[in-house]
Structure formats: structure tokens, C-alpha cells
């Protein structure tokens, strides 16, 4: 037998020595759905999950596909699940959300859960992960769920933007035909490519702001019930810190939350939609309020030097009124909505026919 073959056999024989344990599903996972919930759990396969000790850390990899069934008489448009591992990351929690669904009564659908927990080996405690329902959105825009993660607002905003964009694409199709729709998808695809490639990290600011103070430029969107007046943030290469923005409620209704989208421009003039500044902020009609966060936001592009921030822009992305109604911008909003990103990906893979099928499906 050749030396290489012997070594390969020895390596195979040694494989069982690797410290990798399958997890006991009874002790490691729990899926909690309230009694009488509009969805039921059909199955959950945790077979691919395992725990591994590496160095001074214990890694727990959990992989599962949850099969849920719509037990309600209405079509489900979106679902949001809360993921908590209280013993491992006290205070930390996750959410897995699937929007743009179209699940008829009695139909099943799947939600994939892939997560990793890491904790020092020396720390005692169970690695129990609890998955629970945070919210469901139906096609009549009614909501069910405890809403601990404020999923109602985000699911509703997603659905409203999706309806707006599908309506816009249908108008383009009806007025300009398939060629004009194709042109629109090509343009959206180019915008999506421009916006990708920036990684982001946020942490509490623990030191005095440094760098230079930069004023936000505000994009006024037609019909926005809240107006942004003035604002600044401290910027240094690859970093923006401690944003402060003054705003006014121009509507005749009380506002309870505002999400401000912001765009970062680098020294070469390239723009990146960097994220959002959500704020639970009560603003009575006609009144002013200030948004301030003691946070540091870091930008990175893999393999490239730090982003030189030359300008900051902001716009109102979502407004939630005290009565629960949610406002989203019209077509003039910068960036692409989640639904447009979804349709662009389908267009890139399957062409215009898949976009047309989606437009008909949700009509």
C-alpha cells in the first residue's frame, strides 16, 4: 500500500476523535407557538445541529427548517419569529422574518433557521434556544402576535412598499409594454449593484466624539408627515458617530415612531444606503423633537481602505402614527425597496417572465 493511502486510512481512523457532538433536540431547542395561533408547527428538523468545542469557546450550530401551516381563514403575507438564547447572550436576541409570502388557508410554508451560539467554555449554562412567534401579517394588513420586536411596523412597511412597487411596475407594463418593464428592471439591477458591498457594525459610543462634525443634507420626499430640519454627526475615516437630528411633525396626527434612512457618500462621490435610524419618538401634531443616538457606526468594504465619508444625507423612510397606521414614501424614495431587490434577483436569475409571474400572483 502506498504511503499516501496509509496516511489517508490513518486520518479516517482518527476522525471519530474530533470533539463534535450532536445536540439533544429536547434540551437544545424549543419552538413556542401560542394556543390558538393562526399558524401551527408541522415539523422541525434539527438533525444538522451540533456543538463543537474550539479553543476556549463552545460553538453551537443550529440548523433547521420549520414547517408551519396556515390555520387561519386568511392569506398570510409575512411572518416574524423571535430567536432567544437567554443563557448564552442575556439581552441579545434575534429575529427571522419572511415577508412577501402568499400562503393560502390550510397551506404549509417553511422558515429556515440557521444560527450559531458562542460562549466561553468556562461559563456554565444551558444553550437552550427558544423560537417563538413575534408576528404575522395577513393580506388585509391585519396583524397577529405579541409584537415584542416591533415586527408589526416593519412587516407593514415592507408590505406597503411592496404593493407600491408592484403597482408601479404594473403601470409601466400597461403603459410601455414588456420592453419598458425590462428597461426598468435593468436600471433597478444597476442601482442594486451600486449599493452592495458595504459592511456595517454598530456599537455604543464609549468615547468623546472625534473627527469632524458633518451636517446632514435632507432629502424632502413628497407627502412626508415628518420634516427633517437640521442634524449633524461626527465622522472620521470609516466611521460615523453620535448622530443628532431635529424634526417636525407636519401632520395633524400624533407620531409614535420615525425611521430615518441615511445615505453615505464617499470621497469619489459614490453613494451607499447605509441603514436606518429608527426611533420610538412621540411627536404631537405640529411639534418638534430631537433624535439623538450615542452610537458609533462603522463601514467597511472587504479588501479596501476605510470609507472616506464626504457627505451624509437623510430622509424619512417610515412613519408610524399613534393610531398604528404606517406611512411609507412614494416612488421618490432613494434606494430600492426590499420587494424591488427581490424582483431584481428573480429577474437576474430567471428573466422577465419570472417578474411578470410575481406581478400577476400578487395582483
Amino acid at each position: 500500500m502506498a504511503t499516501n493511502s496509509k496516511l489517508a486510512l490513518l486520518a479516517l481512523a482518527a476522525l471519530p476523535l474530533v470533539a463534535q457532538d450532536a445536540l439533544d433536540p429536547e434540551r437544545a431547542f424549543r419552538v413556542l407557538l401560542p394556543a390558538g395561533a393562526p399558524v401551527s408547527l408541522q415539523s422541525a428538523d434539527w438533525d444538522q445541529s451540533k456543538a463543537t468545542a474550539r479553543g476556549g469557546a463552545l460553538l453551537v450550530d443550529l440548523h433547521s427548517t420549520l414547517q408551519l401551516k396556515n390555520e387561519s381563514p386568511r392569506r398570510i403575507r409575512a411572518v416574524s419569529l423571535q430567536v432567544v438564547a437567554q443563557e448564552v447572550t442575556p439581552g441579545g436576541k434575534g429575529a427571522v422574518t419572511v415577508p412577501s409570502l402568499d400562503v393560502a388557508p390550510g397551506e404549509a410554508f417553511s422558515v429556515r433557521i440557521d444560527l450559531r451560539l458562542m460562549r466561553p467554555l468556562a461559563r456554565a449554562g444551558n444553550a437552550l434556544v427558544e423560537v417563538s412567534l413575534d408576528g404575522l401579517l395577513f393580506d388585509d394588513l391585519t396583524f397577529y402576535g405579541p409584537n415584542r420586536l416591533n415586527s408589526r411596523r416593519s412587516l407593514l412597511a415592507w408590505e406597503l412598499e411592496a404593493r407600491r412597487d408592484r403597482r408601479m411596475l404594473l403601470t409601466i407594463l400597461n403603459q410601455g409594454g414588456r420592453d419598458r418593464l425590462q428597461e426598468e428592471m435593468v436600471q433597478a439591477s444597476a442601482r442594486l449593484t451600486e449599493q452592495s458591498g458595504v459592511e456595517l457594525r454598530v456599537a455604543r459610543a464609549t468615547a468623546e466624539p472625534s473627527g469632524r462634525e458633518l451636517a446632514f443634507a435632507f432629502l424632502a420626499l413628497p407627502g412626508a408627515p415628518v420634516e427633517l430640519n437640521s442634524g449633524t454627526a461626527w465622522v472620521s475615516p470609516g466611521e460615523a458617530r453620535a448622530p443628532r437630528i431635529q424634526m417636525t411633525n407636519r401632520s395633524n396626527r400624533s407620531v409614535r415612531a420615525v425611521e430615518i434612512g441615511w445615505i453615505v457618500q464617499d470621497a469619489r462621490g459614490r453613494q451607499f444606503v447605509a441603514g436606518a435610524l429608527p426611533s420610538e419618538i412621540e411627536i404631537p401634531p405640529g411639534q418638534e423633537a430631537q433624535f439623538a443616538r450615542d452610537r458609533t457606526l462603522r463601514f467597511a468594504r472587504p479588501g479596501q481602505p476605510p470609507l472616506e465619508i464626504s457627505a451624509l444625507s437623510a430622509y424619512i423612510a417610515t412613519v408610524e402614527f399613534a393610531d398604528g397606521e404606517v406611512w411609507v414614501p412614494g416612488r421618490a424614495a432613494p434606494g430600492l425597496s426590499g420587494e424591488m431587490r427581490r424582483l431584481v434577483e428573480l429577474y437576474r436569475r430567471h428573466g422577465l417572465a419570472s417578474v411578470l409571474a410575481q406581478l400577476q400572483r400578487f395582483q
Binding site: L10, A14, L15, L17, V18, G55, G56, A57, L59, V83, V88, T89, G91, G92, K93, G94, A95, V96, T97, V98, P99, S100, L101, D114, L115, R116, L117, M118, R119, A122, R123, L149, N150, L192, S196, E199, R201, V202, A203, T206, V273, G275, A276, L277, P278, S279, R293, R295, L297, A300, P305, P306, G338, R341, R342, L343, E345, L346, R348, H350
Partner: protein
């Protein structure tokens, strides 16, 4: 092809990578032009730093410098882990300072001479087997980024839409939502509400949104 991390490349360039990891990485560099260039860039950076200690040069590649610093922190904390094990209850801030006592040297010469000749082939086979087991262990357990995250998170929780997935980490523990088998279509962070990543399965059009939060800030 699986590429080594930036931290390992930085350590390798500085001659600080562990022997077996260094061997595996050197093998990889023979076939990977991109990683070889990165390792050379780290080596150049290190040389620059040594000649410009008093003043950091303009146009510094901060990303590369950060990777090297993180790698060195990992080394220090790994030593700290051993020290913590050796000296339980030692203050965390001082762990890195407490290097573990050097392992006692085996009396190799006397051991060799004390073995009778018929046992020597068996010892050689045992040694080879141990080597293979160690190699298999090492290759199947790439270094994890536990230590640098721990170093960053001593003071505050960190929410990341950075690297693989989105993560909330604090005090050496982390919850990471890993990307599903779908294309990442967008990432964003909310200053206060958490980090978020969006994935689209281009086959089915199904969107999955991952978010992590800390405390009651969502």
C-alpha cells in the same frame, strides 16, 4: 477553495503563526496568488511600521493593520485562556500578562536510550499516529474569531452586519444568525434597533430577513 483568514495571514507574515497552522498556510500560499499577495502586503506593512514607529505613515492601510492587531489580540487572549485555566480567579485585565509556565522539557535523550530496541518501531508508529490525529484535528478546526470579539466586547454589546451574517455579541458570548443558502441582497444597521441582513433565494424568490437586537432597544 477555502482561504485563510486575514488574521492568520497577518500572523504568518510576522512569523507568529503556530507551527502547524503555518505549515498548512504555506501549502495554501503555493497555490493561491491572492493570499500570497496579501501575506506579502502584511509583511511590507510590518516592515513599514518598524521603520515609522514615531509617526504613522499617511495612506495607512487601516484594514490590514486592524487585522494584524486583532490577530495579536487573539494570541494574547489565547494565552490568557491558558492562564485563566492555570490561575482560576485571576483578574481578567491581567490575564494576558500572566503567561503560562513553560512546559517541562521531556528528557528526550534519556528516554530514547532507556527504550529497548524492539519497542522503537512501535513508538515510531504511535508518534506518527499522534501526528496524523493532530493534523486532522487542526485541519477540521480552523481558528475561530472568539478571542478578538471578546476583546472588542468587554465594554459594550456590539451589533454587526459584518462577515458571515448578523451578530450580537457581548462579554465573550455571541448569537449569530447565519446566512441561509441564498444571496445576500442588502445589509443595514439601525442605530439602536439592531443589525439586519436580507437574503433572497433567487430560485424561489423567498426573502429571509435576519435581525439581531440588544436589550430593549428594538
Amino acid at each position: 477553495m477555502k482561504h485563510p483568514s486575514q488574521s492568520d495571514l497577518a500572523l504568518y507574515a510576522g512569523g507568529d503563526l503556530a507551527f502547524w497552522s503555518s505549515l498548512a498556510l504555506r501549502w495554501h500560499l503555493k497555490t493561491c496568488e491572492r493570499c500570497r499577495q496579501q501575506a506579502e502586503a502584511f509583511a511590507t506593512l510590518r516592515a513599514d511600521l518598524e521603520t515609522n514607529v514615531a509617526e504613522l505613515p499617511a495612506g495607512m492601510n487601516w484594514a490590514a493593520l486592524e487585522a494584524e492587531m486583532r490577530a495579536n489580540i487573539r494570541l494574547g487572549l489565547a494565552a490568557g485562556e491558558i492562564a485563566e485555566h492555570t490561575f482560576p480567579g485571576a483578574p481578567e485585565a491581567e490575564i494576558v500578562e500572566q503567561a503560562p509556565p513553560p512546559p517541562a522539557r521531556l528528557p528526550v535523550r534519556s528516554l530514547t536510550w532507556s527504550l529497548s530496541a524492539p519497542l522503537l518501531p512501535g513508538v515510531a508508529v504511535l508518534a506518527s499516529l499522534s501526528l496524523v490525529v493532530a493534523l486532522v484535528w487542526m485541519l477540521s478546526h480552523p481558528p475561530v474569531s472568539y478571542a478578538p470579539q471578546r476583546a472588542q466586547n468587554l465594554n459594550a454589546p456590539v451589533l454587526s452586519a459584518w462577515g458571515p451574517g448578523v451578530e450580537v455579541s457581548y462579554g465573550g458570548a455571541a448569537l449569530t444568525l447565519l446566512p441561509p443558502t441564498a444571496k445576500a441582497a442588502g445589509r443595514s444597521v439601525d442605530l439602536g434597533a439592531g443589525a439586519r441582513a436580507e437574503y433572497v433565494d433567487a430560485e424561489t424568490g423567498q426573502v429571509t430577513i435576519h435581525q439581531v437586537f440588544y436589550g430593549d432597544e428594538q
